[in-house]
C-alpha cells in the first residue's frame, strides 16, 4: 500500500483540497480508509456514551480526537479496537477495519488483528506495562504471538525496536523492568510495542498526557517521524490543543458523546464553526489578546450522559442557542473538508 504522504494528484475532485497535503476528502477518495466508523453508538443499557459517531482514517493520516474528559473519545477508540468491557458495549453502527466489518468477527479473529494490524498506546505508560516482566520481552511478545518468531529472534528484534524509538543503550534497557525506567522511557517502550508488527493503525489514547512538556515534545516528534517512515494511520486522542496543532492532519471534536465538528487541522484552527470548537480555541493561552488579556472559559459544565438536554447537548452552554437547537443537528458539510453539527455554524460575534 502506498503511504499517503506520496502525492496523489488528480485522484481527488475537490479543488480546495490542494492546499492540504493530507486533506481529508482527498485522502479518502484516493484509497480506501484503514478504519471507518459508521453511526457508532456505544453505551450500557442505561445510557449512551458515544452517539452516532462516524469517522474515517486514511493510510498515513493522523486524526486527532479532541474533547473534554468524559466526552467519549477513549470509548470510541476502545470500541474501534474491540476492547470495550462489560457493561459498556457497541449498541449500533458499524466498524470497518481494512474492509472487514469487526462486528462480524469473533473474538479469536479480533485478537489476531489486535497487536498485529491495530495497536494501542495508553495514557499511563508505567501502569500500562507489566511490572514483573522485562520491557524487552513485553515488546517481543507480540512478535512471538503474531509472527511466530522464536523467543530468541523476537528478543533481538525487540532490542532493535527499543533502539528505534530512541532509547539509549537499548540492549541493557530491554533487560530492565518498568520501575527502573522513567515515564518517558516507558512510553517509548509502549510505542516500540505498538510498532512491533508494523500495524496499519495505531490508536494513541492520551499517550503524552502524563509526560512533562519536554518529554511530550520528544515523543510527538518521534511518533511523527515513525509514522512518516511506516505510513501507518494514527488516531490520536488528546485534550491538548497544542498537541493537535503539532501532529494532526485532521481533527474530530467531540462533545458529550457526539462528534460535533470535523475538518482538516487548518479548518479547525482557522475557521472553527461549532460554538464549542470556538470556545475551545478561545481557551488557548495565545488567544489571550482576543479577549482583553483574560483567559476565556466556556460557561457551565459538561452535562452528565444521563442528563443530556434534548437536541444539541451543547445548547445549555451555547451563546447562539435558540429553540431550533432542541432538534439534534446533523453533521453537515460546510466548505470542502469541514463538517459541523450546528444549526448556526460560523463565527458569530
Amino acid at each position: 500500500m502506498m503511504p499517503s504522504f506520496v502525492p496523489t494528484s488528480g485522484a481527488g475532485s475537490a479543488g480546495a483540497s490542494t492546499v492540504l497535503p493530507f486533506g481529508a476528502d482527498r485522502a479518502a477518495d484516493a484509497m480506501p480508509p484503514v478504519l471507518s466508523l459508521e453511526g457508532l453508538t456505544v453505551g450500557s443499557d442505561a445510557v449512551d456514551l458515544v452517539i452516532d459517531a462516524s469517522l474515517t482514517v486514511a493510510p498515513g493520516e493522523t486524526l486527532c480526537l479532541v474533547g473534554e474528559s468524559g466526552c467519549g473519545k477513549s470509548l470510541t477508540c476502545l470500541a474501534a479496537m474491540g476492547l470495550l468491557a462489560e457493561p459498556v458495549r457497541r449498541k449500533a453502527g458499524r466498524i470497518r477495519f481494512l474492509g472487514r466489518d469487526l462486528g462480524e468477527l469473533d473474538e479469536r479473529d479480533l485478537r489476531q488483528m489486535r497487536g498485529r494490524d491495530m495497536t494501542m498506546i495508553f495514557q499511563d505508560p508505567v501502569a500500562s506495562l507489566n511490572p514483573v516482566q522485562r520491557v524487552g520481552w513485553q515488546v517481543a511478545e507480540a512478535l512471538v504471538i503474531h509472527e511466530g518468531l522464536s523467543s530468541k529472534v523476537a528478543a533481538r528484534r525487540a532490542v532493535e525496536l527499543v533502539d528505534k524509538v530512541g532509547i539509549a543503550d537499548p540492549e541493557a534497557r530491554a533487560g530492565a523492568f518498568p520501575h527502573q525506567l522513567s515515564g518517558g522511557m516507558c512510553q517509548r517502550v509502549m510505542i516500540a510495542m505498538a510498532l512491533a508488527c508494523r500495524p496499519r493503525l495505531i490508536v494513541s489514547d492520551e499517550a503524552t498526557t502524563a509526560l512533562d512538556v519536554t518529554t511530550q515534545a520528544q515523543i510527538l516528534t518521534l511518533m511523527r517521524r515513525l509514522q512518516e517512515e511506516t505510513g501507518t494511520a494514527m488516531i490520536f486522542v488528546t485534550h491538548d490543543l497544542s498537541v493537535v496543532a503539532e501532529i494532526a492532519d485532521r481533527v474530530a471534536v467531540m462533545y458529550s458523546g457526539r462528534i460535533v465538528e470535523t475538518g482538516s487541522v487548518d479548518d479547525i484552527f482557522d475557521h472553527p464553526s461549532h460554538p464549542y470548537t470556538q470556545g475551545l480555541m478561545d481557551c488557548r493561552l495565545h488567544a489571550l489578546s482576543a479577549t482583553d488579556g483574560r483567559l476565556a472559559a466556556i460557561g457551565g459544565t459538561v452535562p452528565r450522559p444521563s442528563a443530556r438536554p434534548l437536541g444539541c447537548a451543547f445548547r445549555t452552554r451555547c451563546p447562539r442557542a435558540s429553540q431550533r437547537c432542541a432538534i439534534t443537528p446533523d453533521l453537515r458539510p460546510i466548505g470542502s473538508s469541514q463538517r459541523v453539527a450546528c444549526h448556526f455554524p460560523g463565527r458569530a460575534q
Binding site: 476492547l83 485478537r111 489486535r114 501502569a127 500500562s128 511490572p131 514483573v132 511478545e141
Partner: protein, 312 residues
C-alpha cells in the same frame, strides 16, 4: 539479596529457634514430673530417686537448661525416656510419613485453592463464584478433626471404600490429606480470588489484550505472576497451621507421623522428644519463611531492587 538482608534474617531465625526451645523447656518442667508419670504408683521412693538422678532431673533447673542448650549446640538432643534411644532418632524416623502427608495436603491445597480462586475471580458475581466462595467459608470454619470424623463415618464406616486409619497405601493417604488440606485450600482460594481480581483490572492487563495476547496466556503469564505475592504470603503464613493441623489429623487417623509422636510424648512427659519435635517445627517455620522471602524477590523484581537500594 544483600548480605545485610541475609544476616538480619539469619539473626531473627536463630532468635526464633532460641525462644521456642526456651519456652518449651520451661513449660515442660512446670507441667509435672516425668518419672512419676512413667513409673507405676507403688514403686519405692529409692527407685524414683535413682531414675531422677539417671536422667539428671535432680539438678537445679538452670543447670538442666544449660546442659540442654549446650547439648543442642553439639548436636545432642537428649535421650527419649520411653524408648531409651537418642530423641533425634526417634523423631527423624517419623519424619518421612509426616512429610508424605503434609506435602500431599499441600499439593492438594495448591491445586484446589489456586484453581477454585482463579475460577471464582474469572466468573466474578456468577453462580460459580458464589458456590465456590460458600464452600471456602465452610472449609475455613470446619475444624480439622470434625471433618476427619465425618469422612471416616462416610467413607470408612458407611461406604467402606477407604481405610479409617493406618498407613501403607495411597488409599490410606486420601482421607488424612483431604482433611488436612481443606481449610488450607479454602484460605488459598479466597486470597487467590481477591488478589487476581485486583490484578485483572490493572492497566497492563488491558495492554496485554490490546497486544492480542490469548486469554490463557494473559492469565498464566500476565495475571497470576502479579497476583502471586499475597498468595505466596498466605501459603507461607499458614504452613504453621498445616503443621498444627497435622498433629490433630495424625491422631484422628492414627497416622504414625511426627504429630502423633508429639501427642504421645507430651502425654508421657518424654521431655527430650517433645523438645526435639518443637525444635523441628520451629526450624521448619523459619525455613519456610526464608523461602517465602526469596520467592518474593523472584516473583516481583521491585521488591528485590528496593532492598538493594535500601542497603546500598
Amino acid at each position: 539479596m544483600s548480605p545485610q538482608f541475609v544476616l538480619t534474617k539469619l539473626f531473627r531465625a536463630i532468635l526464633t529457634l532460641f525462644l521456642a526451645v526456651t519456652f518449651v523447656f520451661v513449660v515442660l518442667r512446670m507441667s509435672g514430673d516425668p518419672v512419676a508419670q512413667m513409673l507405676p504408683d507403688d514403686v519405692p521412693a529409692a527407685v524414683i530417686t535413682q531414675y531422677r538422678e539417671m536422667w539428671g532431673l535432680d539438678r537445679p533447673l538452670p543447670e538442666q537448661y544449660l546442659r540442654y542448650v549446650s547439648g543442642i549446640l553439639s548436636g545432642n538432643l537428649g535421650f527419649s525416656f520411653r524408648d531409651d534411644r537418642p530423641a533425634l532418632d526417634v523423631v527423624l524416623e517419623r519424619v518421612p510419613l509426616t512429610l508424605e502427608l503434609g506435602l500431599t495436603a499441600l499439593l492438594l491445597t495448591l491445586a484446589l485453592g489456586l484453581g477454585a480462586g482463579t475460577l471464582a475471580a474469572l466468573k466474578r458475581g456468577s453462580g460459580t463464584d458464589h458456590v465456590t466462595m460458600a464452600f471456602t467459608i465452610l472449609g475455613h470454619s470446619m475444624p480439622n478433626f470434625f471433618l476427619g470424623i465425618l469422612l471416616i463415618l462416610l467413607f470408612a464406616m458407611t461406604w467402606r471404600v477407604l481405610p479409617s486409619s493406618g498407613t501403607g497405601s495411597v488409599k490410606h493417604l486420601i482421607m488424612p490429606a483431604v482433611t488436612l488440606g481443606t481449610s488450607y485450600a479454602a484460605t488459598v482460594a479466597r486470597f487467590t480470588r481477591s488478589s487476581l481480581l485486583e490484578v485483572l483490572h490493572q492497566p497492563f492487563m488491558r495492554t496485554a489484550r490490546a497486544k492480542g495476547v490469548p486469554f490463557r496466556r494473559r492469565l498464566m503469564s500476565h495475571a497470576l505472576p502479579n497476583a502471586g505475592i499475597p498468595i505466596v504470603t498466605v501459603i507461607g503464613l499458614r504452613i504453621g497451621a498445616l503443621i498444627g493441623g497435622a498433629v490433630v489429623v495424625e491422631s484422628v487417623f492414627a497416622w504414625p507421623g511426627v504429630g502423633q509422636l508429639l501427642v504421645n510424648a507430651v502425654a508421657f512427659r518424654d521431655l527430650a522428644v517433645v523438645q526435639t519435635v518443637v525444635l523441628l517445627i520451629a526450624f521448619t517455620m523459619v525455613a519456610v519463611n526464608f523461602l517465602v522471602d526469596i520467592l518474593y524477590g523472584w516473583l516481583d523484581p521491585r521488591i528485590g531492587s528496593a532492598r538493594r537500594e535500601v542497603s546500598a
